[in-house]
């Protein structure tokens, strides 16, 4: 075993994560290895330094308002979804009615009506194509159930 192979035990020793048997084994190694002993000493100094660093606790107000902030955002999220769905329904309905009016209107020239219908057919094909592609990729997504 080289010194590098002892690094796992060294970290465990430093963080008090070893069982008695592992601890003894590592201490035995330390007695005969000045390189590991010196490295451990450096790590111990570093650990003491990092342990000294504690993060500043925010004001109590932050914790008191924490759940309220989350609750409001969850509620607003639902509001946005409803607003978006309603908007889409109204736009589709309004658009359908407007197109119906144009088609029925005898004053509108035939060429405009034909152009409008071709435009709608193009949009419908694009929509179906994109939707089909999305469904195709979603069904074959190997990672969709990963780490749930």
């Amino acid at each position: 075993m080289t010194c590098h192979d002892w690094k796992d035990l060294m970290m465990g020793y430093l963080d008090n994560e070893l069982n008695d048997e592992q601890k003894l084994r590592f201490e035995e190694h330390l007695k005969g290895c000045s390189e590991c002993a010196s490295e451990l000493e450096e790590f111990q100094k570093l650990k003491e330094m990092t342990d000294e660093v504690t993060l500043a606790e925010p004001e109590d107000r932050i914790w008191q308002e924490y759940w309220g902030g989350i609750y409001n955002r969850i509620e607003r999220g639902l509001g946005w979804i409803l607003l978006s769905v309603a908007g889409i329904v109204l736009i589709i309905y309004g658009g359908f009615k407007a197109i119906e009016e144009v088609i029925k209107d005898s004053n509108v020239e035939l060429i405009f009506k034909v152009g409008l219908l071709i435009l709608l057919a193009g949009l419908a094909i694009l929509f179906v194509s994109v939707l089909r592609e999305r469904i195709f990729f979603w069904r074959r997504d190997r990672y969709k159930n990963v780490r749930r």
């Binding site: 690094k7 450096e42 790590f43 100094k45 990092t50 000294e52 993060l55 924490y66 759940w67 609750y71």
Partner: protein
């Protein structure tokens, strides 16, 4: 990271049925952990608060997809970590894409968000250590944060990171080596008179 308990299991079931009140149990239990982990990963109060709250919101929206036997915290940690990493990448992108950022102290100071104010009872050495932690790459920084600031055991860290204990010790070793290097520690280089 507390062990799973009956209260959590019940709260999890109620959350799956859409109970916001039940979700409050998780928020109250883990809000400080979430905030301090985010603070350790992104380095400043405002971003940490925003990202930790956003992680809870995403957790609530997706909790119905979690397997019943999964513990909340390791799953939640993945959401929080991904949000923080994504935030850091956007910040890095903004930093590198801002013209003449390099060599311009004003711009660098604005974009370097690992603020020393995040540290309690500051002194010069603590500031240096905090800045050095901020310079570690993401996977090394997170093990330092989880071990030193969250006092998590190797088993708990391994569970949160979806890896084995060997990977945790290995990452800790290299993270600490890098920290020594960043602090100019080398052989015998770490000051003995630190507080």
């Amino acid at each position: 990271m507390p062990s799973i308990c009956q209260e959590e299991l019940i709260a999890m079931q109620r959350c799956r049925r859409g109970s916001r009140k039940a979700f409050e149990v998780f928020v109250n239990r883990y809000m400080k952990d979430a905030y301090f982990i985010a603070l350790g990963l992104v380095g400043n109060h405002d971003d940490a608060l925003e990202l930790s709250q956003e992680a809870f919101i995403r957790a609530f929206r997706n909790i119905k997809h979690v397997k019943p036997d999964r513990r909340f915290f390791p799953w939640f940690y993945q959401i929080l970590k991904n949000l923080c990493i994504s935030h850091l990448r956007k910040r890095k992108y903004r930093h590198t894409s801002s013209l003449d950022a390099e060599g311009c102290p004003e711009v660098e100071a604005q974009t370097d968000c690992f603020l020393p104010e995040a540290v309690a009872r500051r002194n010069e050495i603590k500031d240096k250590v905090w800045q050095a932690i901020g310079k570690l790459d993401e996977k090394h920084r997170e093990v330092i944060i989880l071990r030193h600031f969250q006092n998590m055991s190797y088993d708990q860290i391994a569970e949160a990171l979806f890896c084995n204990k060997g990977t945790v010790t290995s990452r800790l070793y290299y993270a600490r080596k890098k920290l020594e290097e960043l602090l100019g520690a080398g052989k015998g280089g770490i000051p003995d008179d630190m507080p």
